[in-house]
C-alpha cells in the first residue's frame, strides 16, 4: 500500500478531513444490513486500527460500512456527501478509495459536528486511478462509528445527478435494471466485489423474446465495468435497425457474499450535449 495517497486537510472542503494511516482492504464481517437496497451494513472486525472514536460506536465493536462507486471523469465535478441518518448525529470515520484493481489509492478521515454533513470533492482522490472505458473511477468504502449514508453528486455541463451507494446483490437478491437500447444511449454497469474471494456474476439481457447471457468473473476486491451494448453486441446487431428498444439487464450471483452494482447511463443529444442517469 505504499502508493496510498494520504489526503491533506486543505484538499477537502470540510476542514476536518485529515491524513490517515494506511489500512488493509475491507475484510470486515457483516453483522446486519442497514439498508434494504444498498451495500451498507454494520460490521465487526474492521475499523479498529487507528480509529480513535471506536469507544463512541453506537454498537460496541462495530463499525458502519457504506460502499459507493465514485466517478471523477468525464463529469465536470463530483462531490461526495456523507450525512448522518439520524437527526443531530455527528460523523466520525474514514473513507478509502480503491482503484479498479482493488488497490487503495487514497484515504482520509472525516468528522463533523452534530447535524452536519461532510462534503468532499473527490477528483483529487482519484488522481492515481487509471482511465477505464473512458471513466476515471474508484470504489469508495466509507467506515464510520455511527450509521451514515452517502451519495455522490456528479455534474455535467447540462445538469447534476445524485448517485447513491451501490445496490446490493447476492445469491438471494438478484437485480434487474431497465436500459434503453438506442444509438443515443450508452450504459455502463459497475460491479464491485468488495470481498477477498473471487465471485462470478451472470448477466442476462432481456430484449424482446431474446435472453442472451454472459458470465463474468470478478476477482477479489476488483471493480469491473460492463457495457451491455458491448457485451451483447452480437445479439443487438442481429436485431437489425431499431430506433429505441426497452430492455433489462439482470445480474445475479451465486456468491453468498454481497456484491455492489450501479448503472451509469449516458445519453448524447444532437448537439453533443451529454446527460447522465443512475438508479436511486
Amino acid at each position: 500500500m505504499g502508493a496510498v495517497r494520504k489526503q491533506s486537510a486543505r484538499d477537502a472542503i470540510f476542514s476536518s478531513a485529515s491524513p490517515l494511516t494506511s489500512r488493509g482492504f475491507v475484510g470486515a464481517s457483516q453483522v446486519s444490513w442497514t439498508s434494504g437496497e444498498h451495500l451498507a451494513f454494520w460490521a465487526r472486525g474492521d475499523g479498529d486500527e487507528g480509529n480513535d472514536d471506536d469507544e463512541s460506536s453506537e454498537l460496541e465493536g462495530l463499525s458502519h460500512h457504506v460502499h459507493l462507486w465514485t466517478i471523477a471523469e468525464p463529469l465536470e465535478r463530483s462531490i461526495l456527501r456523507v450525512y448522518p441518518t439520524q437527526r443531530g448525529a455527528d460523523i466520525s470515520g474514514y473513507i478509502r478509495f480503491f482503484n479498479p484493481r482493488g488497490v487503495c489509492v487514497s484515504e482520509c478521515t472525516i468528522a463533523s459536528r452534530p447535524g452536519q454533513l461532510v462534503q468532499i470533492p473527490i477528483s483529487s482522490f482519484l488522481d492515481e486511478c487509471e482511465t477505464d472505458s473512458g471513466l476515471r473511477h474508484a470504489h469508495a468504502e466509507l467506515v464510520t462509528t455511527k450509521q451514515c449514508s452517502a451519495e455522490l453528486e456528479m455534474s455535467s455541463r447540462t445538469r447534476s445527478l445524485f448517485m447513491p451507494a451501490l445496490h446490493r446483490i447476492d445469491d438471494r437478491e438478484p437485480r434487474a435494471l431497465p436500459i434503453v437500447l438506442s444509438g443515443s444511449y450508452q450504459h455502463v454497469f459497475a460491479i464491485v466485489n468488495p470481498n477477498d474471494i473471487q465471485c462470478s456474476v451472470k448477466c442476462r439481457l432481456y430484449v424482446g423474446s431474446r435472453t442472451p447471457e454472459e458470465v463474468c468473473l470478478l476477482p477479489p476486491r476488483m471493480t469491473v465495468l460492463l457495457s451491455p451494448e458491448v457485451l451483447f453486441g452480437g445479439v443487438l446487431r442481429e436485431l437489425g435497425e431499431f430506433e429505441e428498444l426497452q430492455a433489462y439487464l439482470r445480474i445475479s450471483t451465486r456468491s453468498s457474499k454481497a456484491l455492489g452494482i450501479q448503472m451509469l447511463e449516458e445519453r448524447t443529444f444532437g448537439g453533443g450535449e451529454k446527460v447522465y442517469g443512475v438508479v436511486a
Binding site: T85, G88, Q119, R159, P178, A247, Y248, E273, V275, A280
Partner: protein
C-alpha cells in the same frame, strides 16, 4: 393469494401544486433538449419479481392503484409477469386519462385493457380478478363483480388531476403459490422527461425509514421536497389513525369529522426550504449555530408538525421520499427513498 406491497409516487410534469412557479418553458440557461412540453413526462413502472431459491417462472399478478387526496383515481390489475423475469409498463397506456388534460370525455376512469405495454412481456388486464381481489368478494353466479368503492366524482377527480403534480402509487405483487416469498422483489419507477430520466426504487410497505430528511437537506440551488405517501391501508388503523386523519384533513383543507379511510391514499409534499427556512450559509437562528457549511440544524416544525419525530405520519405505512427539483426547469433530478 399472497401479496406484497410497494409504495411510490410520480410527477406528471411541472406545474400544479408546486405553487405556480413552474411553466412549460425552459429557462434561457437550460439547453433546448428537444423543445417539448415538459408536461408530457412519461412514467414507467418496472417489476422484477423474485423469490429466494425459486427459479421456476411462476405467474405473478400485479395490482396498481393511483391515488391522491384520499381519493382513488384509478386502479388496474395485470397478469403476465413471471417470477425472475423483469418486465414493465407505461402508465400512460394503462391510465391514459391521468396523462392528458382533463376533459369531460376523458374523465371517466379507464377500466379497459391497456393499449400497449412497455417491456419484454405483455401483461394482460384482469379487471375482474383485480376487482375480486380488491373487494375481497367472490363473483356472483352470473359472473358480475360488485364494485366496492366508486371512483371519485368527476369534478373532484378533474380538480385533482388539474392541480396535483404528484400522485401516489400503490403496487402489489401477488401469487397463488403459497410458498413463494416475493419480499425481495423490486419495483422501480422511471420518470422520463425529454431531457433526462429519473429512476428510483419504490419503497417496500413494511420497511421503515432509515434516514431523517433533515440529514440530507442543504441549500444547494435545488428545491428539496419531502414527499410522504400513505397508500390504501385496508382496514381502519388501530394506532395513529386519528393523527393521520388530521394530516389528511390538513392536506385536503377540509374540516369536520374524519375517518380512517381519509388517512389513506394521501400524498403530502412539503418544501424543506419553507419548513426549515431559507437561511444563508452559516446563518444563525434561534441561538443555534446552524452550519459551518450549508446544513442547518433542524428547527421546530412550523407547518403542522406532521413530519416531526414521533409523528403519526412516520408510521410504517407511510413511504417517505426526498425529491430534489432543479430550480431552472422545476424538473426533479433526484428521488431518494428515506
Amino acid at each position: 393469494m399472497n401479496k406484497w406491497s410497494w409504495t411510490a409516487f410520480f410527477m406528471r410534469g411541472v406545474g400544479g401544486s408546486l405553487g405556480g412557479q413552474a411553466s412549460g418553458s425552459q429557462s434561457p440557461s437550460s439547453p433546448n433538449l428537444g423543445g417539448v412540453n415538459f408536461n408530457g413526462a412519461k412514467v414507467y413502472l418496472h417489476f422484477f419479481p423474485v423469490a429466494n431459491g425459486v427459479s421456476a417462472p411462476y405467474p405473478i399478478h400485479a395490482f396498481i392503484e393511483i391515488f391522491c387526496r384520499g381519493q382513488l383515481l384509478a386502479r388496474q390489475g395485470f397478469e403476465g409477469l413471471r417470477l425472475n423475469q423483469p418486465d414493465g409498463l407505461d402508465l400512460a397506456d394503462v391510465f391514459p386519462d391521468l396523462f392528458r388534460n382533463p376533459t369531460p370525455s376523458s374523465i371517466p376512469a379507464s377500466r379497459e385493457a391497456p393499449t400497449s405495454v412497455y417491456g419484454a412481456g405483455k401483461p394482460v388486464t384482469t379487471t375482474e380478478e383485480f376487482s375480486r381481489y380488491a373487494t375481497g368478494e367472490q363473483p356472483s353466479s352470473s359472473g358480475q363483480v360488485a364494485e366496492r368503492k366508486p371512483f371519485p366524482r368527476l369534478l373532484e377527480k378533474d380538480e385533482i388531476l388539474r392541480t396535483e403534480r404528484e400522485l401516489g402509487i400503490s403496487i402489489e405483487l401477488a401469487t397463488t403459490q403459497p410458498r413463494l416469498d416475493l419480499s425481495r422483489s423490486r419495483v422501480l419507477v422511471e420518470v422520463c422527461y425529454p431531457s433526462h430520466r429519473v429512476r428510483y426504487h419504490a419503497a417496500r410497505a413494511s420497511e421503515k425509514s432509515s434516514s431523517h430528511e433533515i440529514s440530507l437537506y442543504r441549500h444547494d440551488g435545488y428545491e428539496t421536497r419531502l414527499v410522504e405517501v400513505s397508500p390504501f391501508c385496508g382496514e381502519p388503523q388501530a394506532e395513529g389513525a386519528s393523527a393521520l386523519s388530521d394530516v389528511s384533513r390538513d392536506v385536503r383543507g377540509e374540516s369536520g369529522p374524519s375517518t380512517s379511510r381519509q388517512a389513506s391514499r394521501t400524498l403530502r409534499s412539503v418544501s424543506l426550504e419553507k419548513r426549515h427556512g431559507n437561511l444563508p450559509s452559516g446563518a444563525i437562528r434561534d441561538g443555534e449555530f446552524l452550519s459551518a457549511g450549508r446544513l442547518p440544524k433542524a428547527l421546530p416544525d412550523d407547518d403542522g408538525g406532521a413530519v416531526g419525530e414521533g409523528s403519526a405520519y412516520q408510521q410504517e405505512q407511510v413511504a417517505r421520499f426526498l425529491v430534489q427539483y432543479e430550480a431552472t426547469s422545476s424538473l426533479p433530478v433526484s428521488v431518494r427513498c428515506l
